[in-house]
Each structure stands twice: as C-alpha cells, then as structure tokens.
C-alpha cells in the first residue's frame, strides 16, 4: 500500500471533491490533460472528454451510474504514441483493467498516462439509465452514490455485469480514490500506488491521512455479495450454453450487427476477421448447407461469430458488460463472455487486467502445457 492522502468532501459531494483535485493537477501542471467522464450539454449520457483547461471541469461526472462506453479504448488511442505531456485518465476499474490488457496487446502505452481509479459502485444498464427520472442532472450521481454506499438502493437495478463484478477496486492503477469506509463519504482516501501516482498526490498538496479502518470489511462484504451473484450467473449461463443447441438458441436472435464487437474494449483488431474475405462463402456451399436440412437460417455464422470472438478475446475479457449494453436484441452477451472467460483464464492461471507483468496466455509458449490436450502425455489413452 502506498501513501494515503485526505480529500475533503464538502458541498457538491464527491464529484466536487474530485473536480477540485483534478483542477489542482491541471493548474499545477502536474498533468497537461485529464480524461474524465463528462455530462454533455443537453444530453443525458456521460462520455469521456479530454480536458486541458482547469476551468472546464464543471461537467465532470466520473461516478455517474451511466457508463455508455468503456473508456479504455479512448485511453489506448491517446497513449499508443506520445502526446507530448503527462496526462491523467480517471476511469472505472473495469476500464483500467481493459486498458492493462490493451497495453499488453501493444495497443496502448504507459509512458505518459497516469491511471486514476476509484471504488466503483457500478452502473445501470444504459437503457435503464436513460429512462430513470432526473438522469441528466448532477444530483442523480450523488444520490446514486449515497444509496450505493449505504446499501439502500431504491432506483433501478445495476447492470448484471456490475452486480457480478468482484473487482470494484482495480488490481493495478497509479492513484486510487477510496470512497468506501470514509465515514459516510465525508472524505475521500486518495492513495498513490505507484511513484507516478505519489507524485500526483504531492502536486495536489493533499494532507496525509490514515487509511480508513472500516474500508476492508466494507469491501469484503461488497465483493462477497457480488461474487455470490456472479457464481449464480455462471451456473445459470453454463446450463444455458453447455451444448451447441443451447448456445445456438441463446444467440438465436443475433442479427450479426456486430455492435457487441464494436463496444468491446478488447476487440482491438483494425478490421474484424468477420469483415474480411475469410467468411465469404461460395454460394454453392451455402446451397449445400441449405440442402442438408432443407432450410437454412440467414445470416449464417451468427453463433460462429460469437464463438470466434470468445476464442479471440475471452482470455482478456474484463466483464465490463458493454457488449450487453450494445446489443439491440437484448441478448445477454456479457453473461456468456464472463462465464467462458473465467474458464479460459483459469486454464492459463491468468486474470485479465490483473497485472502488466503477466504476459497474455497466447503469447507464451510452454512445451509442457496441457499434455493431455496436445498428446505429450506418454501414457497410452485409458492406461
């Protein structure tokens, strides 16, 4: 654990406190820019914005229950080559974890970026958020935070992804903002977890503080509830997609719009293989398929599309749930990706987003891996 500093929460709540913190960073030139979620004028959804002027932070809303896209992609785009200044990105834990994966996949850089994250209370499904009254106001966030931390939620239910998320705290970031266990949100515990993060806290001139005692217990309770939800989700989903028939039924409504792929922060290919000539089947071949059963559903390859995506990125899936958010057909895409991703990650002793040091499983070649699968086991089958 690094050093903890105290950020007082006054009028305007946690958002205002963060605004003050970021303002300080920009004004002291500790960073040249900050990427943070903003309320947009005359719109409801919050979007990431790159802020360079400390006076243009009024609309920021990092804790909002709205989470229209995974900002890791934006952070990756901004960090892949040099921007020329040090800059900070304030992101949710799942965004930071996706960013970590993208760094390892060489789609993002770490040279100039300082990652700031926080105890994430989760978010609503985008559709729910848009429907909720007063969503466009700043107050909606403070109310949401209060309810989330007191455990007395009255509004719509959180997205399934968030309810099943056992990572309300990111495993790796430079600065972490603790909301849990801080006397009902009367202050924020700002922690510099890396030298770069500690520099930022020093620049913001925050007074040191003791790490809040009750935080660990509160966190454990939170994670415990989420893990229980997650395990039920796994069980439910496994039962649904365990067979090819089950999986086909699960994705039967898919129209192959590929929105899930676009929304996925980890589908990093410039052009998806499904957009290339690889899946351009001969018409004669399609005819043969149709002849096999007398009728053929079109478009073809819908299940194959999802299976391919699972093969490609389930080892990197952080479970942010944006795929489900993006699906126009209401297919519970996230459930399948998390369920399968957990298995594929476990197979390699890997956890997506955990550490920059762990290489992605497929980039490592171990001769002695999975002997039963690759035929290296000298024992004859069944012997």
């Amino acid at each position: 654990m690094g050093t903890v500093a105290r950020l007082e929460v006054k009028e305007g709540g946690c958002t205002a406190a963060i605004r003050g913190f970021l303002h300080g960073l920009l004004e002291s030139r500790a960073v040249g820019a900050v990427m943070v979620a903003q309320r947009l004028p005359r719109k409801v959804l919050r979007m990431p914005a790159l802020v360079t002027d400390p006076h243009r932070l009024e609309g920021i809303d990092p804790f909002s229950p709205c989470f229209a896209l995974n900002a890791a992609r934006m952070a990756a785009r901004l960090s892949r080559r040099s921007m020329g200044v040090r800059w900070a990105a304030l992101m949710r834990p799942c965004e930071v974890r996706a960013f970590v994966e993208l760094v390892k996949l060489k789609q993002a850089g770490t040279e100039e970026i300082v990652l700031i994250s926080f105890d994430c209370p989760g978010a609503l499904p985008t559709r729910e958020f848009l429907r909720s009254p007063g969503a466009e106001t700043a107050e909606s966030t403070e109310r949401f935070l209060r309810e989330a931390f007191s455990g007395e939620a009255t509004g719509p239910e959180l997205a399934h992804a968030c309810r099943a998320c056992e990572h309300p705290v990111p495993p790796s970031c430079d600065v972490h903002i603790g909301l849990l266990g801080t006397d009902g949100g009367s202050w924020l515990a700002v922690e510099g977890r890396t030298p770069a993060g500690q520099e930022l806290i020093a620049a913001a001139k925050l007074p040191p503080a003791e790490a809040p005692d009750s935080r660990e217990a509160a966190l454990r309770g939170w994670i415990g509830r989420r893990a229980a939800y997650r395990d039920a989700l796994f069980a439910r989903t496994e039962a649904a997609v365990a067979t090819i028939e089950g999986a086909a039924a699960y994705f039967a409504d898919c129209v192959l719009c590929t929105n899930c792929r676009v929304a996925c922060p980890l589908c990093y290919c410039r052009e998806c293989v499904f957009a290339t000539d690889v899946f351009e089947h001969d018409p004669f071949q399609i005819l043969l398929w149709a002849e096999r059963g007398g009728v053929l559903k079109l478009p073809t390859d819908t299940l194959f599309f999802h299976l391919t995506r699972l093969a490609h990125m389930s080892t990197a899936c952080v479970g942010c749930g944006q795929c489900s958010n993006a699906c126009p057909q209401g297919i519970a895409v996230m459930e399948v990706f998390r369920t399968v991703g957990r298995r594929t990650q476990q197979a390699f002793g890997y956890e997506a987003g955990r550490s920059l040091e762990e290489p992605p499983p497929l980039s490592v070649f171990r001769e002695e891996e999975f002997p039963e699968a690759v035929g290296l086991d000298p024992r004859p089958a069944g012997g």
Binding site: R270, V278, F284, S363, V364, P378
Partner: protein
C-alpha cells in the same frame, strides 16, 4: 534450387545415412541411398523417445531452407527428397575403381512386393500362413512373411521377407494389384551338394531341401564330393567335418581350389565346433551343429540362394561412397548369458524394453509384467552387458547405453506413475556429453531413479513367482538382494556383420575392435580414398555424434566429388508460369480411376460423380482406366487439356498420393504440385464397393483444397558467398579448409597472433598420434590457400544481419576496421582448461593441472625420474554445479599422462582418484591397459572429494577408500588435477548473430541431438570446443560437419523460401505483436520504421503458430488460406 554435377552412394539409411544423404542432396548432388531393410531410419526408427526431450525429433534432420525439396514428413515413416534415390531391400554387391569414379553394383532379392504397385490393402498379410518374429518389435511380436515393415510406414507398401517365405503363393493370388513376385522361382537351378558319410543325414537333408525346391546331389566321402564338384557346378555345399579318410577341412581346402566361389557350410558335432570355427577362417561360410533341425538349415540355404538369385540393378558410377551401416545389438545368448536372457521371462534387452514402451509396440505402450499379472512396479537396469568386457571380445564402451538406461528409467516412471521404482546397476555411469550429467542428476534427485554402483552377480527367478531376484555385493562388501518385475540388460553394441563383410570386400582395414578403421585424427576418412564412413560403423557414438560424423562424412565425400569435377549445375527455379494459373478462377477437371486390378473393376459410384459435377467450378467429371499406369497418366493430361481446366482432382487410391507420382502427373499436365489433388478412395484395395458418402467427403475436401489454393510468393534471398570462421584452432582451420576447398571464400579470424589453438601445446593423443604434425599441416594449408584470408590478432567489433547477408566489422592489430559481408558464420572459438581451485593448488609445486603437467613434460622441466607416486584427481571442479558437465577428455588425458610417465619410469606408482571413469568408446582399452599395468583406481563419492595437504616438495592426498571403508593417505610427488574444459565464447558476439549460449557458456545448438552444430538462428554454426568438450578427432568431425552444413547454404546464389511460409496482411494487422511472441523460430519482428511486422521467409518454418494466435487472420500461412481450411473442414464434416 541448385543442382550440382556428381553423384554419391550412401550405404545404410539409418540416421547417419539419412543425414549424410540429405547434406549431399542439400548441397546439390544426387544421391543413391541404399538400405538392406525394407524401411529406412534404422535402429532409431524403433525408438519413440530420445533424451533430453523425451521425444523423437528425427524430423529435425529435414532441410530447413528450401524445405520443399523434401517432403516434410516423419522420417520414421519414410524419406522423400527430390535428389535422393532411396532404394530399400538393396545391398551393395561390389565397388570398384578410384575415388571420383567408383563403379557400384547393387542387388536386390529375387522376389518381393513392388512398392510402386502395392496399394497397402493388407490382403497378402492376412492370408500369409508364415509367422516369424517381428524385427521392428525386437522379436516381441510375430509378423507374417509378407507384412508392413513398420507401422505407419509411407509409402504404405508391404514387404516380403524371402528368407521366411515358403512360396505358397497365397499372397500373390489375393493381391489386387499384382504387386507380388514370389522369391526363388528358380530354386531348381540352385544346386546343393550334400557331403556326409552317414546315409541317414544325407537323405534327410535331401528330403528337406528338395521339398523347398532346391536341386541336390549326394556324396558319401571327400573324394566323391570333389569328383562331383569337378563334374558339375554347385552353388552350395553342406560338408560334414568328421569323415573317415579325408576330413571335412581338407575337402574344404581342395573344393575351394576347384571352385573358389563355392559357398560351404560345415556340419559338425558339438565336440568339433572349434574345428568348424577354424574352417571358417579358411573360407567356410558358416557351420551347423548336429543334430540340427530343418528350421536351422533352410534359412541358411535360402539366404545363399537369395544372393545367388538376387537381381542386380544396372551398375552405377559415383564419385564417392559413404558407408553408414551402423552397428548391431549384442545378443546376450551369444555369450555366457549370466542373467538368463531368453531363459527367465521378464529379462529384456534395451531395444526390447523400448518397444515395450512404444505406443506401436506389443502392449500399446503399457508396462505389463511378463506373466500378465498386473502392472510393472519395479524395474532394474544392468549396465555393461557385453560391453567393457574383454571376455566377450568387447574391450570398448558402447557409449550410448548409460544414457539410454537413464532415459528408459524416466520413461518407465512417466508410464508407470511416480511409485514405479527404477534402479540402475552400473559400473561407471558415463555421462560424457553435453547436458548428460544434469539429466542424470535430475533423474536421481527429482525423479527418484536409484543408482547402484555394483555388478550384480546373479539373477534368478524369485521364490514364489514374484518376478526376478538380483543379488549383488555393495562396495563395502555386504551382500544384497532384491526382487524386480522386469530386468533390462543394457546390451552393448557390436560391429554390424554385413558392414564388416562389405569392408573386407572393399579392402578397408578394421580397427582392433572390429569396426571400420578411420585414419588418424579423422572419424570419417578410411584407408581407401573416395570411401568414407559415418556414424557407428566406425565405432559406437550417440545420436548427436552420429549426426556430426555423418555430416563430416558428407563433407569428405563432397570433397571427392568436387575434386572429380562436381561443379555447379543449372539452377532450377520454381515454376512461375503455372503459379499465375492459380490466380485464375478455378476450373477443375475431376478424373476418377477405374481400377484395373480389382475384380470386378471398382469405380466411383454414379451419385458421387453427379454430386461433384454440380459444383459450378468443376468443369468436367470423368472416369478413366488405371490412372496409376503410364497410359492412365496420359489420359489424365488429355482430359485436363480437353476441359481447359487449370486444376486436377483425382479420385484413386494411395498409390497416386506418393510425392514422386504426383510430381509426374503435375508435370505431364503442365501444372504445379499445388494444382493437383488426389483423394484416396481405396478403390483397388476396397473389399466392398466404395462408400458413396465417404468418397464424396474425400473428393470434396480435395476439391476445396484445389479451389482455394493460392499462388506462392517466391521471395529469394541473396546469399553472400563468403564464410566467416571465428577461431584459428584445429576446428576453425579444418572448417575453413573444407569450405574453401569447395570454392567459397573464407575469412578466418583469430584473436591471438598465431594459428593452432590448443594444438600449440598438446604433444600426444591417447591413440599415440602427434598433434603437432597435424597442426603444422593445417597451418601450412590454411596460410597457403588462395581462398582463405587469415586475420590474426583481430576481433569482431560489430556484427549484424541474417542468414545469407551477415555484415561484420573486424578490427585488426593495427586498429584498422574492415567490413565483411558473409552468408554464414562458424564459431570455432575453442576452449581452455578450467582454472584449478582448491586441492592444494598454488600451495605446493607438486600440485598442477593436466595442461601444466603436459607442458612441463614436453619441455623437459618435469623430473619424471624423481617421481615415485603420482596421483591424479579426476573431476577436480567439474561435474558439480556450477560446472556440472563432464569434460570428456580428462579421464583419457590422465591415463595418457600416466602412460607417458611410465615409459620413462616403469616402476612409478600411479593412483587415479575418480568418480566415474569416462573412457567412452575405444578409450576403454586404455583403461583396461592401465588396470592391467597396476595403476590403482579409487572411486570417491561426489560429496567427499579427496583432500590434498602440501608437504614441502610433495603432497599427501587423503581419500576415503570405499572397499576398506576407511580413510587412506597417499604420499605423492605429483598431484595432477583434471579440472575440465571451459569455453571461450563471447555471449555478446553469439547473440549478435542470433545464436545463443547454453547455461555453461558453450554454444547452444538448435537441437542437442538432431542439429548438433547448427545454431538457433539460420546460418550460424559452431564446432570444436565452442560446442562442447571433445577430443581432437571429434573436434575435427564437428568442424567438417559445420562446414558441410554451411556449404548447404553457401552452395547457392539465392535461397528460396518454401511454398508454406507465413505472411502478414498489413492492412489488417493491428500490430499487437502476439505473433512475434508466439513464433518459435524467431522469424518475426516489428519494423519500427515501416510500422509493420516483418517475416523472415527463410527462418520461417511454416508451423502456423502465428496464424493461430492472430485474431483476424492478418498473420496467415501461405499454402493454408483460411477459406480453404474452412472448405476442407466443411467437406470433411459433410
């Protein structure tokens, strides 16, 4: 592709023969590779796993550049290379002439299965009534007289064993393709004279032999026999030894005068066996001990008949002959057999054990007790059965059995689970090779293999049927006994009888151990120019050394071919015209075979033809007769032309899938191999009409492959013709000479001021040869060679580049820097004696290292006359971490020093303190000599090394005597420390060329066994001590091998990539670099300037790992386009 004028004959297609043949073929010569057996790959073909990988890996012998010349298949299944003519079931009948122009006669058995015809249906074996032990399974199972020579062999052709065949003709009747010719149809013309004074013997012989179809005549006495011989020609005489009047030996002598070519087999009672052996020395071929059985006699008669009737191939003229005939396993039954081999069930030889653990072996790889009562739990290995045993005429070490037993012990543990107990009884455990010692230590420490230094004195069945009981005496004298389920005898190796006979016919001298003798300092040159040896026919060596010696033999053979005018032939370029055809839209002609051989003629069912014809890209579907015949091939070409098709789909059988056949078909049709596909519909071998569904699947996958096949992109890489050789010792100079003699310029860089390396101070080898003469000769030839430029006192300051185009900067003694372009680099940087540490070194003038003693001995400063006692301490710092490897030469070196001392002072007392005495191979004889002359050998445990206490002019050495079990103090005037060898290799420099060092600082070969002189990067090689500790002849062999491997690249102006090579579709690439991380060949890198991932087409071996990790097919493997793979899967899934 390059081609050269010149042809070589390689005899023996074991791994040595394959290596030598491939090396010569890669350099561009054509090669005839003959093998007596019906399958290639020899002994190693029977073994599934080699240490240290515990896998086979033989395929790593296959070419790495221009891979398309060979078929990338398992070498245990078969060998195909466009410049190698592999002739199985073939023997050398004779070789005449001079180096450069040798006339070779080859012969084959009179009958057999024509592999061109055999469709592999197996009906012949099913009906064959004769069962004989299967050599492939080391006799553990039976096979038919006509059978597959090995499981999964390719071509999947059956082979007929003429010595087992009874010529009943059942196989010929059922063979659907008429591929079988019975052996010995002309037995009547083979005349056998039966000479015995007993009528009953003569008569039963006559009956037996005539039943086999031979002609016989009888003689009751010597004079009668001689009269018969004068009258008529006979091919074989069976001759009794004990006859009244003229005895058999005398008859033999006289008969040889009448008919020198006559084969004679002596018949003897047990009492006169010695006479029979004498008779063999004066020309008898063999003997039979009375009373004998028909089963003993007939094979001998058949064997002689086969020689008589064998078909000779048209004679060949070759420039050089490489003999790679290998060795034979020692047969415990031929000796005293103290361990009851063949008597007690559960006593096996190593090869039998290997077959038992093989998935294709008799038990499918399950370790079962011989009585079938459950799984094996306890196995013992007994080392040195028939090796290191002057009593069994084997005063040499077979060199391979120790490591083989350790590997087998680990294999047994892997198969049998952790609680299987493996025990190795050994004398010295000879881990004298790269990485061997650590492998042994791991076996003991990590896997719990038990090592017992003892020679068991008896092996008996355990009471109560509980397996086998071994009794032995511990070093301290107490007797022990334990029971085991299996006992594996580490039976050593012997010279191969066939090879010895051939050597004698060729006038090649044998060495004292019965192997073919090489000239001093060489492992491959024989007394006869133009005839060289590779592998174990010159003495026992392990896989890596076999491969090295085979390459060295190829180098020497290549020199002969070169000297005989073997220049550059025309460069064959990959066809370009037909490649462009692949860019056209597919238009496929599908031609189905109507099999002439099956009855009724089998053909593809009509619905299949119809279904195939529905594909809009299929231009025509036709059926034609017997596509495997020349007429069939013409029909194919005609149909293709008529249909205007640019691809050809053939529905036939396995016969048409043979690479050579496919090449012919493609050539006839003006197509490349990628434009022809054959589906195996098993038409001729099917016993029922072909299954329509299966046939359609096979055809559709072939069709899918054809339709989607893409043109290859030919990207030749230019090759700078020069070689850079680093190091001017014996290895560097030898390599430089081999390369320069082949016409390539060599830059030889030596950091010191003179050439010679370790030869500047070595004065004598264990064989008694003088290295100084060798050095002088090498230096003279190197310095006088027009194509070698020697840079003395120079070093490499910078190096970069890839195979074919390395660039190095050399700084000379004057400080001037030169830029060199070279296609390959050879590390011959040598090694030196490891520094001594401890053992009183530096505290007394009486304690010195081997090299110091050697130098003082040669400059006369060592007062040998004043020495009473000399102690040598072996492994003084080696074979323990951090130098946990055997330096191989120090044990023989100590024995050599002691011999040198004793020449001057015979009464000198010599004591060798050792852990395991590593006199592998023929060096064992020096060990035997030393023991015989009274040198005292005292083993010490590795954790209690001897202690040396300096005492003024001398020293006292304290060691624990294992037999007495108490400390012993020896006062010596000289203590010689055998410290071992350390390399002198710069990590930075090796890595600059893309090579790597191993954990001990030696050069890391690409594969310890199969590519022992090649580096991890293409075009980088090493030889001599830079590779590992070794003797002078061994170092020379590595130098010749590395030079030959380098010539394989230098011998061409450009390197062509394979058709199957990875490529990047840059427009799709997200540069995630997963492919770079995943590439096992280091063939990919990110070009920062271009912002692109680049593939080195020659380094790339086409494994496809990159294509598997790339999520969006930006990394693709040419030759396997994804749409093609989908279509094939689709067809296969129906």
């Amino acid at each position: 592709m390059n081609a050269r004028i010149g042809k070589a004959l390689v005899v023996g297609a074991g791994i040595a023969g394959i290596r030598a043949a491939l090396d010569l073929a890669e350099y561009g010569y054509s090669v005839v590779l003959v093998e007596r057996a019906p399958r290639p790959s020899g002994l190693l073909g029977q073994l599934d796993r080699q240490f240290p990988t515990d896998r086979c890996g033989m395929c790593r012998l296959l070419p790495r550049v221009e891979r398309d010349a060979a078929s990338a298949d398992c070498l245990r299944r078969g060998l195909f290379h466009e410049r190698i003519d592999l002739r199985l079931n073939t023997e050398v009948a004779g070789i005449e002439g001079e180096a450069g122009r040798l006339r070779v006669r080859l012969r084959r058995p009179s009958g057999g299965v024509d592999p061109e015809r055999c469709a592999g249906c197996g009906r012949c074996a099913a009906v064959c009534p004769v069962e004989v032990p299967d050599e492939f399974n080391a006799g553990l199972t039976m096979r038919k007289a006509v059978d597959l020579p090995a499981p999964q062999c390719f071509p999947h052709a059956y082979a007929l064993d003429p010595s087992a065949c009874t010529r009943c003709g059942a196989c010929r009747e059922v063979c659907p393709t008429g591929a079988i010719r019975l052996p010995g149809a002309e037995r009547r013309s083979f005349r056998i004279l039966l000479v015995d004074d007993e009528w009953s013997v003569r008569d039963s012989l006559k009956e037996w032999l005539e039943a086999e179809g031979f002609s016989t005549a009888m003689a009751a006495s010597g004079p009668e026999a001689l009269a018969a011989l004068r009258e008529k020609a006979f091919q074989l005489m069976l001759l009794d030894i004990k006859m009244p009047g003229m005895d058999g030996v005398e008859v033999l002598e006289r008969a040889k005068q009448i008919s020198p070519g006559l084969d004679v087999v002596m018949m003897t009672a047990y009492a006169t066996v010695e006479t029979a052996v004498e008779a063999m020395k004066i020309g008898a071929l063999d003997y039979l001990i009375k009373p004998f059985d028909v089963a003993d006699l007939i094979p001998k008669a058949v064997e002689r008949f086969e020689r008589f009737a064998a078909a000779e191939d048209p004679p060949l003229t070759v420039g050089a002959v490489v003999l790679c005939g290998g060795s034979e396993g020692y047969d415990p039954l031929s000796g005293k057999n103290p361990y009851g081999y063949g008597v007690f069930p559960g006593v096996l030889t190593q090869v039998e054990f290997e077959r038992l653990t093989s998935a294709t072996g008799p038990t499918g790889g399950r370790l079962l007790r011989p009585d079938g009562r459950g799984a094996v739990r306890r196995i013992a290995w007994i080392q040195c059965v028939g090796s290191r045993d002057a009593g069994e005429e084997a005063d040499f070490c077979s060199s391979v059995c120790c490591m083989a037993s350790i590997k087998e012990a680990l294999l047994a543990k892997a198969l049998g689970g952790g609680d299987l107990e493996a025990t190795i009884f050994h004398m010295d455990l000879r881990t004298a090779g790269k990485s061997f010692q650590r492998y042994r230590d791991q076996a003991e420490e990590r896997h719990g293999v038990r090592f017992i230094r003892a020679r068991p004195h008896s092996l008996t069945p355990a009471p109560g049927g509980e397996g086998l009981r071994i009794r032995w005496v511990e070093a301290g004298g107490e007797s022990r006994e334990e029971n085991f389920d299996l006992v594996v005898l580490a039976t050593g190796r012997r010279p191969a009888a066939g090879m010895t006979a051939l050597a004698e016919r060729l006038g090649l001298p044998l060495n004292p151990w019965g192997f073919i003798a090489a000239v001093p300092f060489s492992r491959c040159r024989t007394a006869r120019p133009g005839v060289v040896i590779g592998g174990t026919c010159g003495g026992m060596v392990d896989i890596a050394e076999t491969v090295i010696q085979a390459s060295a033999a190829a180098a020497e053979a290549s020199r002969c071919l070169q000297a005989a005018g073997g220049g550059q032939g025309a460069e064959e370029r990959p066809a370009e015209l037909s490649d462009s055809v692949l860019r056209e839209l597919p238009r496929v002609a599908a031609v189905m075979c109507r099999c002439r051989w099956s009855s009724p003629p089998a053909e593809t069912p009509e619905p299949v033809l119809f279904a195939l014809g529905r594909d809009p890209e299929v231009a025509t579907v036709e059926t034609a007769d017997a596509l495997c015949t020349p007429e069939g091939r013409r029909t194919l070409a005609a149909i293709r032309a008529r249909a205007g098709a640019n691809r050809l789909l053939i529905g036939a059988c396995r016969l048409l899938q043979q690479p050579a056949r496919l090449r012919d078909i493609a050539r006839d049709g003006g197509l490349t191999a990628g434009q022809v596909e054959t589906a195996d519909l098993a038409l001729c071998s099917a016993r029922t009409p072909p299954d329509a569904q299966a046939a359609l699947f096979a055809l559709r996958s072939g069709l899918a492959r054809l339709k989607r096949s893409e043109p290859p992109a030919a990207r030749p890489i230019p090759v700078a013709p020069a070689a850079l050789v680093l190091g001017g010792g014996v290895a560097g100079m030898t390599a430089a000479l081999v390369i320069a003699d082949h016409g390539a310029p060599v830059e030889l860089v030596e950091t010191s001021e003179r050439l010679g390396g370790n030869l500047t101070w070595l004065t004598r080898t264990i064989e008694g040869a003088d290295p100084r003469a060798l050095r002088d000769d090498l230096v003279r030839r190197v310095e006088g060679h027009p194509r070698i430029r020697v840079h003395k006192g120079a070093r490499i300051v910078h190096a970069e580049g890839e195979v074919g185009s390395f660039v190095s900067f050399i700084e000379g003694p004057d400080g001037e820097v030169r830029r060199l372009e070279h296609g390959v680099v050879l590390f011959a940087t040598g090694g030196r004696e490891a520094p001594a540490l401890g053992f009183g070194y530096g505290e007394s003038p009486a304690v010195a290292t081997q090299a110091e003693v050697e130098r003082r001995l040669s400059d006369g400063t060592l007062p040998v006359g004043a020495l009473d006692t000399v102690v040598t301490i072996q492994c003084a710092g080696s074979r323990r971490e951090p130098r946990n490897y055997c330096s191989r030469i120090c044990c023989p070196a100590s024995l050599r020093l002691i011999e040198a001392f004793r020449e001057r002072r015979p009464e000198l007392r010599a004591v060798v303190l050792y852990r395991d005495l590593m006199t592998t191979g023929f060096a064992e004889a020096a060990y035997t000599r030393a023991r015989g002359s009274g040198v005292l050998f005292i083993p010490y445990p590795s954790d209690r090394p001897p202690a040396v206490r300096p005492t003024g002019a001398g020293a006292v050495v304290a060691v624990e005597e294992p037999i007495l079990g108490r400390p012993l103090e020896i006062e010596a005037q000289l203590v010689v420390l055998a410290t071992g060898i350390v390399p002198a290799l710069s990590r930075e420099l090796v890595e600059a060329f893309g090579g790597r060092l191993d954990e001990d600082g030696f050069f890391q070969p690409a594969d310890a066994k199969w590519r022992p002189v090649d580096g991890m990067a293409e075009g980088v090689f090493a030889c001599g001590l830079a590779l590992s500790p070794r003797t002078i002849p061994e170092a020379i062999a590595t130098a010749e091998a590395a030079a030959m491997r380098a010539l394989g690249l230098l011998g061409r102006e450009r390197l062509f990539a394979s058709r199957i090579v990875a490529r990047v579709r840059h427009s799709l690439c997200s540069r995630c670099e997963q492919c770079i991380a995943a590439c096992p060949c280091g063939a990919r890198r990110l070009d920062e300037e271009l912002g692109r991932v680049i593939v080195h087409p020659v380094r790339c071996q086409g494994c496809g790992t990159c294509a598997a990790v790339c999520p969006n097919d930006a990394a693709i493997l040419e030759g396997f386009p994804p749409p093609q793979m989908f279509s094939i899967l689709e067809a296969a899934l129906g």
